[in-house]
Every structure is written in structure tokens, then in C-alpha cells.
């Protein structure tokens, strides 16, 4: 078991208001715990530290794609991403983070539109 590829559960923080007025554009802020190891750094022994980054962040609102990030290694550790969303009707906002090893973390939030 100790030889299994390292599995990391991502700690995610999302700031999304619970309710907004219709047609309001809200800023959604997200923060995820991840080292975003670029693969360009050396350890104390002069050996390269292997790359370990998030590959993708994908957001849908009421089933439609709103926003996506494809990460390069130049995104800072513990990626902070803020983007916009135009509220139309109450519904689900799904957030999905994918790591370079394919592991997926998904969070679903309800947005009430008044």
C-alpha cells in the first residue's frame, strides 16, 4: 500500500453568495490547497523535484460551462482563482478540480436567485 501513487485530497474553499438577484454578476472566489510543484526546482541534493500540478479547474452553472482554467506550472501554489458568473435562475454550481494524475475533486453549491 505504501507504494501506491500518492493520493491527495484537496482542501477547497469557495466564496459564493447563497442568494443573489437575477441578472447580477457575482464574483466567485476559489482557493484550493495544492503545492503546484513546477518540476523546475531542485531539492537540497541537487535532484529535480518531479512536477505535481493541478491540470484543470472546471465550473458549470445549471449544467452549462461557465469557466475553465487549464493550469501551467506558473500558477502559484495553493491556486486562487476568482471568476464571474451571471445569475439567471436558481440552480447548481458545480466546481471540479483535476490533478495531473487524473484525480478529481468535485464540490456542488446551490445558488438561489431571487
Amino acid at each position: 500500500m505504501s507504494e501506491a501513487p500518492e493520493s491527495m485530497t484537496l482542501k477547497v474553499r469557495i466564496s459564493l453568495p447563497e442568494s443573489v438577484a437575477a441578472n447580477d454578476i457575482v464574483e466567485v472566489k476559489t482557493l484550493v490547497s495544492h503545492p503546484m510543484e513546477s518540476g523546475f526546482r531542485l531539492n537540497g541534493m541537487g535532484e529535480g523535484i518531479p512536477r505535481n500540478i493541478l491540470s484543470r479547474f472546471f465550473v458549470t452553472y445549471r449544467g452549462e460551462m461557465i469557466f475553465e482554467t487549464i493550469f501551467g506550472p506558473g500558477v502559484a501554489a495553493n491556486p486562487y482563482i476568482a471568476f464571474s458568473l451571471r445569475a439567471t435562475e436558481s440552480g447548481e454550481v458545480r466546481f471540479l478540480w483535476e490533478q495531473q494524475n487524473g484525480e478529481v475533486t468535485e464540490v456542488v453549491r446551490q445558488l438561489a436567485v431571487l
Binding site: F40, L42, Y61, I66, I70, G74, A76, F83
Partner: protein
């Protein structure tokens, strides 16, 4: 008194020239242009309509705040499909790619990035009809990212 006034005039002029420099569009080097052209070929890229904000001076390249916005009504008929960020002095110059649906309402992203060195970074936005727009911003780094060994 007159001596003081001259100083004041000079100061004002100095201040104004700084402001003028800020207003001038950022010029890209041949290498920076070549990098962008490797993605977009010889398509026309209009150097306006993109607001790219990075600090002009950052002490540390490990985490630099960046904000980018492309002007667009963000309707189903007319919206920004993607914004690509280039950091030509980074070991991997492709910082990130952001994609948008019209439902985003605004093609704006804030994030934090790494700069291996002082550089001019460029954002290129693609509209749903294929039009391209770009904007650049210059940041001076006093302590670079990526180079320090991990102890």
C-alpha cells in the same frame, strides 16, 4: 522663491512624464512576439480591449497577483471564449489558459502566478467569432521564483 518654483515645475514635469510612460502601450520584444505568434500564427491581434494588471514591482516572484479582463458583452452572440497568459521569461511560458461560457457575464479572472524573472507578460483573448485581442503588463521582480533550492 523663483528657485523653488523652478523646482516645482521640474517636479511636475517629471511626474507627468512618468504618467505618460504609464499610458504608453507596452512594446513587445521580438522573442515575446515570436512566442505569441507560435500560438496564433499570422492572425491579426488587436492590442486593445484587454486589461491586464500585475504589480509594477514585486518583491517575490513566487506569488504575484494578476487580474485580467477582456471587454465583451458576454452574450451568446458575442463573447470571449478564452484568454491565454504568456510569461516569456518563465521556464514554461504558458502560464494558464482560461475558458469562458457566455454565462460568465464578464470575462474576468484574478489569480496568483509565478514569475521566474522581471518580464512583460501578455494576455491574448479569443472572441467567439475568432477575433483576437491582447494586452501586456510589465513586472519587475526583485527575488525570482523557481530558482531557489528547496531546503
Amino acid at each position: 522663491m523663483s528657485g523653488l518654483n523652478v523646482k516645482r515645475r521640474k517636479l511636475l514635469l517629471a511626474g507627468m512624464s512618468g504618467w505618460l510612460l504609464q499610458c504608453l502601450p507596452v512594446r513587445l520584444s521580438a522573442a515575446e512576439n515570436a512566442l505569441i505568434r507560435s500560438f496564433y500564427g499570422d492572425q491579426t491581434i488587436v492590442p486593445s480591449g484587454i486589461t491586464l494588471k500585475t504589480p509594477s514591482l514585486a518583491e517575490n516572484g513566487n506569488s504575484v497577483s494578476l487580474e485580467v479582463e477582456a471587454e465583451s458583452p458576454m452574450t451568446v452572440m458575442d463573447y470571449v471564449t478564452e484568454i491565454r497568459l504568456f510569461a516569456p521569461q518563465n521556464p514554461d511560458p504558458e502560464l494558464a489558459l482560461f475558458r469562458f461560457g457566455p454565462g460568465a457575464g464578464r470575462a474576468r479572472v484574478s489569480t496568483r502566478v509565478r514569475f521566474a524573472n522581471s518580464q512583460t507578460i501578455t494576455a491574448v483573448a479569443t472572441m467567439n467569432d475568432g477575433r483576437l485581442h491582447s494586452g501586456s503588463s510589465k513586472t519587475i521582480i526583485t527575488l525570482a521564483a523557481c530558482v531557489e533550492p528547496l531546503l
